[in-house]
Symmetry: C2
Subunit: 134 residues, 2 copies
């Protein structure tokens, strides 16, 4: 069983004051996180929420790295979708350091799980999880 | 318990041939999906994989809507992160229709779960799930 993509959902708690409300710093560190993980950056888009918080995505050749911050709770939600040889853990560690997060948790969700059939050709196992949309 | 964000992970299986390899059509339908859900579009970024497949993100004021497609498997992975009054189901149904998907499954992941403390002020419950990064 081999997934087409791996989707990392990471929660950053008790971050340093200031950075979560600084769109330039968030964009810089998100791009740096994509770079240290070995991904190829295509483009990044960031914007401020009103009245506070930053939201943005780095689109990489191997998929995307997104962040949404709540400075008032010292909390940031990051997700990193990859479908290539990308070191996602180095990206999460980079952001933990730069956000000054006291605690970080993460989940790995496999997307598009393949199973080899008799001919050795990958076929999708799914729908393997989640609810069915009816 | 009230999450700061809701993250929908949806799998689209057995999609119609053609559209999953058409970046213009994918970008148009992803923007339309964001619009029908009531989100405010900030910007969208789409690109082709090599040799095939489309990847892209619609950044919305309320967060992001991303897609990655594997035409060779008739499969598309969509995720919709929201932190506002957005009708995510209408977006997923729009894409099911336009992608011609035979089957769609989805999961809802709560991000940044709050609990009211004694003073009625929301505090983060987390880390409530996932592994701890050590």
């Amino acid at each position: 069983m081999n997934p087409l993509g791996r989707h990392i959902l990471a929660e950053f708690y008790d971050c340093a004051p200031g950075i979560l409300n600084d769109p330039d710093a968030i964009e810089r560190e998100m791009n740096e996180a994509a770079a240290v993980s070995g991904a190829t950056i295509v483009q990044s888009v960031f914007h401020m929420f009103s009245p506070h918080g930053v939201s943005g995505v780095v689109v990489v050749a191997e998929s995307h790295l997104a962040v949404h911050t709540w400075p008032e709770f010292g909390y940031a939600a990051v997700d990193y979708f990859t479908c290539g040889e990308v070191d996602t853990e180095s990206a999460i560690r980079h952001l933990k350091d730069k956000f000054g997060a006291e605690r970080v948790t993460f989940r790995v969700v496999e997307r598009g799980v393949l199973s080899a059939n008799g001919g050795g050709v990958g076929v999708l196992v799914g729908p393997e999880s989640g609810e069915e949309l009816v």
